[in-house]
Amino acid sequence: GIQVEQSPPDLILQEGANSTLRCNFSDSVNNLQWFHQNPWGQLINLFYIPSGTKQNGRLSATTVATERYSLLYISSSQTTDSGVYFCAAGAVRGYSTLTFGKGTMLLVSP
């Protein structure tokens, strides 16, 4: 099946800093989503982005499907951005089941 790798595994930022999280995937995808898991375990869908660029407030994401990677940008980070960010990809072949990466744990300090 498709392999999903995320980097960096951990990231510590000061409030106000910007960051870029990367997701590489091993096969052609027709489904790529970014999630934020908060400290209470709730997974929040940030973006559905199989290709192109989207922005939502301080967050934006870009997927370059031909080069098999996606990037999540966080600008002007806040302490509430802390948590684990997961990338999940669905291969073109098969059903639309998503394979998750291991996540990037982000800690934003005041």
């Binding site: 375990g41 559905y48 394979t99």
Partner: protein, 114 residues
Amino acid sequence: GAGVSQSPRYKVAKRGQDVALRCDPISGHVSLFWYQQALGQGPEFLTYFQNEAQLDKSGLPSDRFFAERPEGSVSTLKIQRTQQEDSAVYLCASSLGGGNEKLFFGSGTQLSVL
């Protein structure tokens, strides 16, 4: 409902007991997924329903795991004769259509097998 609802939020079981975990997806959502998340790991796929049809159960770890969605809405994940290695968070997710669409997760059921 407004979101995906899962119950119970926490479940403690003695080894060998059977457990049943419930998922109530967003109203009208066709697709329903179950994932298992071990501590410090990403969610791993268990099974997928489109309406009442179970289209993929390739992720179920053993024949002790069984899932159903008899009327195409509420789903139940049943684990028979629980083992310690079954301890994990079980997440349910739904999406509107049958294809590749935005996935919405419930809060999960944290299962601890003693």
